[in-house]
Symmetry: D2
Subunit: 398 residues, 4 copies
Amino acid sequence: MKLWLFGIYGIVGTTAIAGNKAIEKGISEKTGLVSELPDFEGLANFSPLSFDEIGGHDIRNIESNLYEELFKHWEENQHFDYRILKQLKEDLEKIKAKKGTALNCGEGVLEELKPIESLENENLSLEEIVDKLEKDLLEFKDEETVAINVASTEPTIEYDENIHGNIENFEKAIKENKKEKFTASMLYAYVCLKNKIPYANFTPSIGSNIQALKQLAEENNVPHAGNDGKTGETLVKTTLAPMFAYRNLKVLGWMGYNILGDLDGKVLAHKENKESKIVSKDKVIGKILGYYPYTITEINFFPSLKDNKTAFDFIHYEGFLGTKMKFYFTWDAIDAIVAAPLVIDIARFLNFAKKKGQKGVIKELAFFFKSPMETDIYNTHTQYQMLVEWFNKLKNEG
Amino acid sequence: MKLWLFGIYGIVGTTAIAGNKAIEKGISEKTGLVSELPDFEGLANFSPLSFDEIGGHDIRNIESNLYEELFKHWEENQHFDYRILKQLKEDLEKIKAKKGTALNCGEGVLEELKPIESLENENLSLEEIVDKLEKDLLEFKDEETVAINVASTEPTIEYDENIHGNIENFEKAIKENKKEKFTASMLYAYVCLKNKIPYANFTPSIGSNIQALKQLAEENNVPHAGNDGKTGETLVKTTLAPMFAYRNLKVLGWMGYNILGDLDGKVLAHKENKESKIVSKDKVIGKILGYYPYTITEINFFPSLKDNKTAFDFIHYEGFLGTKMKFYFTWDAIDAIVAAPLVIDIARFLNFAKKKGQKGVIKELAFFFKSPMETDIYNTHTQYQMLVEWFNKLKNEG
Amino acid sequence: MKLWLFGIYGIVGTTAIAGNKAIEKGISEKTGLVSELPDFEGLANFSPLSFDEIGGHDIRNIESNLYEELFKHWEENQHFDYRILKQLKEDLEKIKAKKGTALNCGEGVLEELKPIESLENENLSLEEIVDKLEKDLLEFKDEETVAINVASTEPTIEYDENIHGNIENFEKAIKENKKEKFTASMLYAYVCLKNKIPYANFTPSIGSNIQALKQLAEENNVPHAGNDGKTGETLVKTTLAPMFAYRNLKVLGWMGYNILGDLDGKVLAHKENKESKIVSKDKVIGKILGYYPYTITEINFFPSLKDNKTAFDFIHYEGFLGTKMKFYFTWDAIDAIVAAPLVIDIARFLNFAKKKGQKGVIKELAFFFKSPMETDIYNTHTQYQMLVEWFNKLKNEG
Amino acid sequence: MKLWLFGIYGIVGTTAIAGNKAIEKGISEKTGLVSELPDFEGLANFSPLSFDEIGGHDIRNIESNLYEELFKHWEENQHFDYRILKQLKEDLEKIKAKKGTALNCGEGVLEELKPIESLENENLSLEEIVDKLEKDLLEFKDEETVAINVASTEPTIEYDENIHGNIENFEKAIKENKKEKFTASMLYAYVCLKNKIPYANFTPSIGSNIQALKQLAEENNVPHAGNDGKTGETLVKTTLAPMFAYRNLKVLGWMGYNILGDLDGKVLAHKENKESKIVSKDKVIGKILGYYPYTITEINFFPSLKDNKTAFDFIHYEGFLGTKMKFYFTWDAIDAIVAAPLVIDIARFLNFAKKKGQKGVIKELAFFFKSPMETDIYNTHTQYQMLVEWFNKLKNEG
């Protein structure tokens, strides 16, 4: 199978590919890959761990190559063993991004990534942008290609039922060049689903999460998934909150304070880009507990941490006889390291889903997302079981 | 139904009864009671939340009453709202302990609780002790009586197949007064199971966890459960460790450092009493992960904390590309407050089990224990589901 | 000596008085009182620990008494042993507040404390308000009276050189009823300094911290001090930051995240009231280090904590060879408990200062304040030494 | 000046030299060096930051060189930027250790560092060992040579007044080959002090801390210092404990739990080696507070952390009105990184001391040690001031 990444030169994209190649070369273990757990034995028959080809779009350094871009991230973060890095040069130099789009990606992205080299800067119309993206993908894809969006968080865009509500209007608006109604992630998702390429949205951006694109996926028999990779603090929250529920302990308040210093952090420091992220992180507690306690969910820029995302959580809860008690946790992880393997996992499961005839939102992939589409199951444990059961059921089918 | 507690004057026993009465009087909520969750709707038809009568054995202050003993704990800890306490006096003064046994309970217990007032101090033979305990229980019990051991942790006792291996030899050894082969918790469990009183062991002591007593429970159609209430750090561990497993993150080491200052802490400061506790807490990680990482599991006395048990956990784990990351949590809770409601829950579920014709070890109660008998399921989530499913199945039967 | 508190019915005021009386009655120890350390032996000869009389202004529940107000705070927080509380009733019932002013105290105060009973609500002019406050103080004061402002944080007010720049213009503006140029704390400070009553500002409000009032203090030979009691997180910061300085470790970033749920928290949730607090907390790091690293200093409302103020700090620093390292601390304290004894300390030291002929800002009291006036010494250790030296020097004088 | 290190191939020794060279080459900043603070301006005139030559003893890999040994530590820990490492190769390859002694260094050292290549393994007598060590040093030294012991912690050795009590008996016992009365660190210290080389003991081993060697230092006009570099948790403790003292807050208990996974950790896992370390870390709290609260001071091996020493501290304290409150801190640092610059600092200050005619224990260097000799000043701030004052006084002398 083949893998296409939107935002391929980012730290998540480059790290995912680095890890994939390192495992292929036998110089790193499969740690972090859900798809390699014994519970998913047999997946490799449908979606092998090695990709035949890897490509992607980006909006910067288009003349560069994946090794060069990875190396910049690595020098900043030294986020994995330098002895592995050294051996990846030759393989990764061959991978080069195509020029993508940053349409309505917000001031945050534009400012932090400048100079931006994107299609809309070439004075292309919406339709021309779409055509160009499509051309890149058609040149690349085979029958087993999956595409994943790992670009930066976009601002939320107002939902317009007249345009986002069905695929006919959506396509009409593209033709009419209504740029203000579209974001990069929507265009990427559209081009994929139109061409039967399974698409996953690893960011809180809108992606395929509108009625028009859901309709398109159903009509074209393509599976898709999202939104927003559940990589860190939210993973812990959704693992831990059930404990309070099972024990009938009343959560009085839950503080989650996140700091990070990478591009993601810089982009999120821009208010419009931050909003969709906060919403995505905040609601999970209430969904699991069945009531909405007081919560603080904040993300703040802390430059020296770079990609070393750290979260401070405090849970105040009440037990028997009304007594208040406390729980604290600190999550200290390298964002790209926890995110990267999930990109590979999701791609493999989506390809598996397609081969098994699944179409539309694959809600059983909820385990991988902060804001899973079309499900209210946020409990990590239940999500994991759902994934295992779904996999086994399909595996044993036809 | 009626409730009998071994170690009734301890902080867990007195707090459980205080909470139970407070809820009955409408002056406290049901927070902390698993058995009152919507998932267990209908349980009250079999096992009501209010007990018809409460009694128990203890080995100190036999002339006292439950309110007086609770008040001592309360002055030390002020562990719940004084406005609730004030209203419980009249009800709790009526409850008085019978004299129990501290047989082979270890130096820790003897020293910290002195002066001990126990049956073996009256120069009774083993058989006489058993007779006396039995007499107390027979006077108290009705058809719906459950007994729970909330006494302090005993030292481990060497398993002797010739005595502990079957009920006939067990009873013979009692007649032969082989005191060195028995501990208080074994005698308590024996008297209960012999008289068809469901028994649960809320401590890591041996209780009913020997072949002889398991045989007796089967023969007499009595359900029993244990061991060691899963109240704090271990609850978190068994909730959180699955997250690392699901995400294929490799735990390199798990440090759990517990401090507490109550009687439990004093007793555990005695080496022989500590051992069974540590083993009980330590193995859960490996059981869940499927491999045994380096672990530190320690309990230490910290006098000023009193019953405010605090645990510091550090998890060092490896992710994608071999990168090491860190997770920390601090559990700061009042031990009696998290333990007490479970005593009531377990009693209710055991009574339900008996009414539904269940006998022997009820392994579906694993959710409540650090070292559940006859199961290898330590994952809190799986345990909870198992409990819910078991309850629903039985509820709908006959 | 006598003590007058502005905002006497708040939790800090009531707790300070409760503790003072408890020590007097021999039912509590002197823990928390700086002025009772061996380093300040002899202070009691000038400023005894027991006050001859205690009074104050407040803007709510004027018909109430100190015990009733304390009891409300206590029921909310149970912030000290109930056995102490019970014995204070008779003494504290005798203390009653006079009606004060909430002039320009901001929406936060007005909303959270309503119904407000304040002088400006009686349609009094500025001059009449001042006269009324002065009358209360003159009735109360003796030669050894000190007044301390423990009322809620006011919004910052724009400095107007024409009015705040000298005492003549200040008094003229009162006469001209220019209410928009004054806040409650300025009026309180004015009335004190005018009548030779030493004044300390335990809040970040403006208080005596303007040129006009400093001039008045000098002219009237009155000592004063402020601002903003250094009670919690800032105390730790200013104790710990020197360690990084002494060891030439480079602080890359310092995150301080504070949550609290009491009135102070509610008031600070109002943006205008919050601002002066943040500034007061934030600058200390740079003052100590000599450079200004990246900092996050936030205060947020967390209702269930009530007065149990909690702070989460993370320090990212660089060591030898440029390697980054981490330090975390959590401050979990009862705000009133750490603040209350300082009120007594400051009063005693100010009275001592007056007796020793000190006038104007007593910058040697910097140890007690987040934003000490007229000094750049923020290092807690240096401040403590400065206090000891100042005391010893004066003690031995004349 | 020249620097000689005992245990030069360890991670502290190699890192100290790496950092020193990196600064010399302009590829790293002076962060972490106390001796480079503005408070010590002028020190470089006496003790330059660059050393003319560096040498040392070790007991392993004698055929290796410093770069090779550093590189092994670096591959394990990647404890500083790989870009710096690369540029140090040529310089560091030139430095080679001489064979030293591991006399009575305990099972821990012998086992963890095997194969040991030490002088006593060559069947040399005590006198021959001393002669060999002396020969190495005499070949190396100039007038400005300082030696520092950075070898692993030895077990404590029983003090024998007849041998350790004066230099004459000490030398006699060497001649008599009473090996059981000596440890490596004592021999190293002896050889230095005998030859007027200032010696510092960066470990908790005995070093020069016996009467005989103190006498020798006085007689030979050599300065010396120790013991046990104050690098991590103890540094924080001695910075923070004064805060509780200044504020008259009563420390009820202080838990310090340290984990580390490097050689130091392995050695300390051996009981006999651990003891001297614990004592060194534990007593500081009481020395600062003036009373001895309940303390837990533990060090445990945690292999995956390697040199990333982590400490978890919990302080339980009592405030006004007897209310208990909590403070937590976590120290997460690279041990070698915090230790290494102090080695350079101490060397420079000792050389300065010698040039200024100081002899015997330089107690003003207490700032650098967990167990400073001949002083009871443990407060970090007071120690720092003492150092600054001492430096300024001497600098301006003669």
